[in-house]
């Protein structure tokens, strides 16, 4: 007991609180209550001051909330708890801040895109339709996207897969280190730079724009994504499996083909699909290398093609109400494609996940 009094002498501040465990605390509903009060206050003040922007109302409400929480909590529970509460509410606000644009973007795209999106829109090109008038469709762009992305996948998937196999199964030493590093760096190459690279090749060899050139640029963007995800998946395959197969006298390459790759196939598929989803939305390289057209061109090796993201950009640039409508409708098609690809890919990942995960 003498020691207790001693600590009280040296440290008057914390001592009273240590003697009893039960502190006063705010009721459980207090965050909701504070939120309601601060929103009411903000709306009231905003109306009185006549502020137009709802954003200001929101900012004001958030500010009131933080101040209210802090003062109430520090009065009742103490400063440390108050700080903790403020930190918690800041985290929540951060998350909401991220969700708001996503929700708004999806909402806008669906709301505006649904206007002209119908069977006609999906099955007709822009041939003979003046940009500022209503009508026309996205068929030529769909064909372009499917062909370019398909070709890109044809190049990128095997190369990416083999590179990942090299890094995980064979790679030792400087070469592997260099490849790993440059795959990482390649992930960060802006899509327009990949486009410029092929553009300089085109200028050099006097080539004409075509879907094929665009596909090559897309492949450059796709490879590092495939390598990264495949590598992760291959690393998840337990070494015991490889050793078991090798111990049976199976050569290494057959072990990889028959044991390692099949085990990781779910994750690899997911990775490839996510990569496809990523490149399907790329506009810049298409703009530089495929040029775009209003007509249906189903030959990716000859002449200009269109593509969905490029179509959106084109229609946006026309700048009429009708073309905006088409841009949103195409955006909706593109977003639906990408999101479905994403969902399916993640579904596969979950379904086919290696059992070692848990």
């Amino acid at each position: 007991m003498s020691q207790a009094t001693m600590t009280q002498d040296t440290t008057p501040a914390p001592a009273p609180r240590t003697n009893t465990l039960a502190g006063k605390s705010l009721p459980r509903w207090s965050p909701i209550g504070f939120a309601a009060v601060s929103i009411a206050l903000a709306v009231g003040l905003g109306t009185v001051a006549g502020w137009q922007s709802k954003m200001q109302w929101g900012l004001l409400a958030a500010l009131f909330f933080v101040v209210l929480t802090y003062t109430a909590a520090s009065a009742v529970e103490g400063k440390r708890q108050a700080k903790d509460r403020v930190a918690t509410s800041v985290m929540w606000v951060c998350f909401i801040l991220a969700v708001v644009p996503l929700a708004s973007l999806l909402w806008t795209t669906v709301g505006r895109g649904i206007k002209v999106l119908d069977g006609y829109f999906l099955t007709h090109s822009m041939a003979g339709v003046p940009g500022f008038e209503a009508g026309g469709g996205v068929y030529h762009a769909l064909i372009g996207t499917v062909e370019q992305v398909g070709l890109a996948t044809l190049f990128a998937a095997p190369i990416g897969l083999l590179t990942a196999v090299y890094l995980v199964e064979y790679g030792r030493g400087t070469l592997a280190k260099a490849v790993t590093f440059f795959v990482d760096v390649m992930t960060g190459i802006p899509s327009i730079v990949a486009g410029l690279f092929l553009l300089s090749i085109m200028l050099m060899f006097k080539l004409q724009p075509s879907g094929f050139m665009g596909a090559l640029a897309l492949a450059i963007l796709m490879v590092p994504v495939v390598v990264r995800s495949t590598e992760e998946m291959l690393k998840l395959v337990p070494n015991e499996l490889r050793e078991a197969s090798l111990a049976l006298g199976v050569p290494k390459w057959r072990t990889i083909l028959k044991v390692v790759l099949p085990t990781a196939i779910g994750g690899i598929t997911t990775g490839v699909m996510l990569a496809i989803a990523r490149i399907a939305g790329e506009t810049a390289p298409i703009m530089l290398l495929v040029f775009g057209t209003q007509l249906i061109n189903s030959n990716p090796f000859d002449g200009a093609q269109s593509s969905l993201p490029f179509y959106i950009w084109e229609q946006y640039r026309v700048g009429s109400d009708a073309s905006y409508d088409r841009a949103w409708a195409a955006a909706l098609v593109l977003i639906a494609f990408v999101m479905i690809l994403n969902l399916v890919a993640r579904g596969i990942a979950r379904w086919k996940a290696p059992k070692t995960g848990r």
Binding site: Q56, D84, A87, A98, A176, G188, V193, A277, E282, W328
Partner: protein, 332 residues
């Protein structure tokens, strides 16, 4: 060479016949497969090298014909007689818009990452992380038209508010009337776009904080926020830095979102709320259609600068990550 190498190998092979048989049976397949996978790796290096080589080659053609100073000219007129173009405005716009994006995105992303790793109810954590990842899946052109047709009108209010109350800072002074198609809006849009990458890398790092470090703080009677300040943030600092640099790399090279939102000009202005300015990628997208062959080379030259810029930023980010891995591995 090969023929001289094989004979010394084959004479000693008869004594242990089964071993060589086994070897020769496995070798071709292994060799081919190994060669293929190694070749793919090498191909990637070749592609990287040729990106640098081709861009440099065309850039040299462009710069040698340039009558202006490539670094300091405030003009982009490669079709003029004489051709004059420079990247000063583009470099400024690219850096400024990326800085705005970073200032907005990094704290919010760290907040979201902490929210998902340490605050959200455990059952919600995975779906919430997925929602943030969805932000990354949206194609940049869609961010672009959303930004131009929805966000820009919406930000008018914020712009005039900033002008009224923070106009004295000069950077927030709005000197001309017009829609918010300025570098500030671009910065906000870029911030939204780089949020997911910064969030997901930071989240990974925060989840790797050893449990025992967090429990040490908890057992001392730390609140949740204090646990984060004492254990989580110090451990995750380098991870957050590299995540931010990855985000920066994205922001620097973003094309379509900037091209749709910004109303470009070749003026260098400190007033962030005035329309105008430009970025490397945006300028390429905007000027490409009307450019002749020489004009394209000029754009390629500016692209080379962008390439080097993103290479440096991404390389630095990766090096930090790699160093961190070693550090945490040695510590574990």
């Amino acid at each position: 060479m090969t023929t001289t190498v094989i004979p010394p190998d084959s004479p000693p092979s008869p004594p242990p016949p089964p071993a060589t048989e086994a070897k020769s049976a496995t070798r071709p397949g292994d060799k081919i497969f190994r060669g293929l996978s190694r070749g793919s790796g090498i191909l990637l290096l070749v592609v990287m090298a040729s990106i640098a080589a081709f861009l440099t080659f065309r850039a040299v053609i462009a710069i040698s014909g340039n009558e202006g100073n490539f670094l300091t000219t405030f003009e982009w007129n490669p079709a003029g007689k004489p051709p004059v173009f420079g990247i000063a405005v583009l470099l400024y716009g690219t850096v400024i818009s990326s800085i705005i994006a970073m200032v907005i995105a990094v704290p919010i992303a760290v907040g979201i990452a902490l929210f998902i790793s340490h605050y959200a109810p455990r059952k919600l954590a995975a779906p919430l992380a997925y929602v943030v990842d969805l932000l990354a899946a949206v194609p940049s052109i869609i961010y672009g038209i959303w930004g131009a047709l929805f966000l820009v009108p919406y930000l008018d209010g914020l712009n005039s508010w900033l002008d009224t109350y923070f106009g004295w800072t000069v950077i927030f002074a709005k000197t001309e009337i017009g829609a918010a198609r300025n570098l500030f809006t671009v910065g906000i849009l870029l911030a939204i776009m780089i949020l997911p990458i910064i969030t997901s890398v930071s989240r990974e790092v925060f989840l790797q904080v050893p449990k025992m470090n967090e429990e040490a703080a908890l057992a001392l009677g730390a609140t949740r926020w204090e646990v984060i300040r004492m254990s989580v943030l110090p451990f995750g600092r380098s991870g957050v830095i590299s995540a931010s640099m990855l985000g920066l790399g994205r922001a620097l090279g973003e094309t379509m979102a900037v091209a749709t939102v910004l109303s470009p000009s070749f003026l260098l202005s400190g007033h962030l709320l005035d329309a105008g300015g430009g970025t490397f990628a945006q300028n390429i997208a905007a000027k490409f259609d009307e450019a002749n062959e020489y004009g394209r080379d000029a754009l390629i030259a500016s692209g080379l600068v962008l390439f080097i810029l993103t290479l440096l930023v991404n390389g630095a980010a990766r090096l930090i990550i790699a160093r961190r891995k070693e550090y945490s591995g040695a510590n574990a």
